[in-house]
């Protein structure tokens, strides 16, 4: 250990401060969900769980939650297909324009959401509008799928790099067709990576607001419902409950995904060996 004792103590203090900074706001908003009063004053004087029932029975919340789940599932499904295909091409082939594909996959999250949102909106309104395309859940799914591809792509690509292409060839040598090779050889290795990527894609979609505002038309997802309700002070207690719910829904998949991505698919040591042999 090169670092002297004082440095280590200071680093520990600095880390504790940064971690506290990261978690205290989440804790505070979690506590506000149990605030019995409508006024958002600190310290909380009256504790109650009554807003949970009110939020649960709120029609706006229910519709928005349903929309969010539908959009999240649809966007995740598209992202899984596109992300897996793209990562297989990048991992197993060398071709002209490979860099362009990598770049195009990453671009939707590298550019600010407002640009993606504005671009999609302009296209849907001016180019596709005359063809009868209208804003709705479908257009939200298109927007979400576009930037969710990258998380599936990253997860699957990382896994494919750790597995050997020779396994696919061995499968073909043994007489399996392309589908059988995918189903019985590749899929078992990719399963946890796909699950992790899918969970993250869903979490990403479930939270998204900036692109959603530009592509939603009259439909509300949960973040849009929250954002429009923030400006109505009497309904803030319901927002607090929804906020707590949203934090939990987005944090739990990340925790699971992290564990899945960490522990390898099949026999990690052997495949890693194979990968280094190639």
């Amino acid at each position: 250990m090169v670092e002297p004792r004082l440095t280590r103590v200071l680093l520990r203090l600095g880390s504790a401060f940064t971690l506290g900074f990261l978690y205290l706001p989440l804790l505070v908003i979690g506590l506000y969900a149990f605030n019995g009063q409508v006024v958002q004053r600190w310290p909380i004087e009256e504790w109650s769980t009554r807003w949970f029932r009110v939020a649960f029975e709120n029609d706006g919340v229910r519709t928005a939650l349903k929309n969010s789940v539908v959009v999240g599932l649809a966007a995740t499904a598209i992202a899984l297909v596109l992300g897996t295909l793209a990562s297989m091409a990048i991992a197993r082939y060398r071709f002209f324009g490979r860099e362009v594909v990598t770049f195009a996959v990453i671009l939707p999250i590298a550019l600010p959401g407002i640009i993606t949102g504005l671009a999609l909106q302009a296209t849907i309104k001016d180019v596709l509008g005359p063809w009868g395309v209208t804003f709705g859940l479908g257009t939200i799914v298109v927007g979400h799928a576009t930037f969710a591809v990258v998380v599936v792509y990253n997860n699957v690509l990382a896994r494919l790099r750790r597995t050997a292409g020779s396994l696919d060839e061995a499968s073909a040598d043994l007489g399996a067709d392309s589908w059988q090779t995918f189903r019985y050889v590749m899929f078992p290795q990719l399963r946890t990576a796909l699950l992790a990527g899918g969970l993250l894609a869903f979490a990403l979609s479930f939270d998204e607001i900036i692109v959603t505002i530009f592509t939603s038309g009259a439909q509300q997802t949960l973040p849009i419902w929250m954002y429009s309700t923030l400006f109505r002070p009497t309904e803030l207690p319901i927002v607090n409950v929804v906020a707590l719910f949203v934090i939990l829904v987005s944090i739990v998949p990340v925790y699971i995904a992290q564990r899945l991505a960490g522990s390898g698919g099949i026999t990690p040591t052997r495949t890693k060996q194979a990968a280094t042999d190639v």
Binding site: R41, V105, L107, D207, Q258
Partner: protein
């Protein structure tokens, strides 16, 4: 492999088999079968949309009906360059992005260093998850939480009240705090990864050669980890430039995002032209970052 006994059954002679053979003999077709859908989606839907946006920046709107007029003009860009408000807003947003980046780097460094070099492997994995979870927690909830915390009756002012102080949460300082909070995990993770890649032997060699810890840090650690800091700053910088929700909730001044959001409904060409400002800044930033070898740290 598992339960399939492929070896015992003779190969099927159906269409699937013929297709497999065809694909095996034609790697290029195989590649395009894989790339076709992603290419169509990202190329047509996404890149296509960006091009539509770029084109709209050269159009204009009818001043009565707000309908788009598809006539090529550079007026939108001229207006953005010549109107002081647009310039001020751009400068304010870019300064904010720079201030946020610095604050994130300062806050992220001790934690990243602690994770990479001080603690045990077990704690390290826990800390990685601990940094990842707030990153994924809803962006809107986090911005709203800060609105509540910074408000007149919120936690901060409750804390400051006994000291006879008040903090105006609806200010650019408040927004700076909120942005720093929002993007901090994006900075911690690349710096952590960068520090972890530095071999301990290098630091020990520096110590053996008489480098005191500060000198080792400044002359060995910092230069090696700098690309990782730049990699993190890509996120903190670009995310700040385009945001409009946090500025709407927290600050009263205008930022690039809020201006685009305000304009797009009635004057899409102006909004589109103004959107080229953050795109240009970010592309420039990415080019500099690539020169500094930051992409290898992403």
């Amino acid at each position: 492999m598992t339960s399939v006994s492929i070896g015992e059954t003779p190969p099927r002679q159906g269409a699937g088999r013929r297709l497999s053979t065809f694909l095996y003999r034609h790697p290029r077709v195989r590649l395009w079968a894989l790339l076709g859908l992603p290419f169509l989606w990202l190329g047509l839907v996404y890149i296509g949309s960006l091009l539509v946006l770029l084109l709209s920046a050269f159009w204009t709107t009818d001043s009565f009906t707000s309908e788009l007029i598809h006539e090529f003009t550079l007026d939108n860009f001229r207006r953005i360059i010549e109107t002081p408000v647009y310039r001020d807003v751009a400068v304010r947003t870019i300064s904010m992005a720079a201030a946020v980046t610095v604050a994130c780097a300062v806050l992220a460094f001790p934690l990243a260093y602690y994770m990479a070099r001080i603690t045990s492997a077990r704690t390290r994995n826990l800390l990685v998850v601990a940094v990842l979870m707030p990153l994924w927690a809803s962006y809107l909830v986090k911005a709203y939480a800060w609105q509540v915390i910074l408000s007149g009756q919120g936690v901060i002012n409750w804390f400051l009240e006994p000291l006879g102080l008040t903090f105006d949460g609806r200010s650019n300082v408040g927004l700076w705090l909120v942005f720093t909070y929002l993007w901090l995990p994006y900075m911690v993770l690349p710096i952590y990864a960068g520090l972890e890649r530095i071999p301990s032997s290098l630091l020990e060699a520096s110590a053996d050669l008489g480098g005191r810890s500060l000198r080792t840090f400044l002359r060995v650690t910092l230069p090696l980890v700098f690309p990782a800091v730049v990699a993190g700053s890509i996120f903190t910088f670009s995310l700040t430039l385009g945001d409009y929700i946090a500025p709407t909730l927290i600050a009263s001044d205008q930022f690039i995002g809020t201006v685009i959001y305000r304009e797009y409904g009635t004057a899409l060409p102006i909004a589109a032209a103004y959107a080229m400002v953050p795109i240009a800044v970010i592309v420039g930033y990415l080019l500099v970052a690539r020169k500094l070898k930051a992409f290898e740290s992403l």
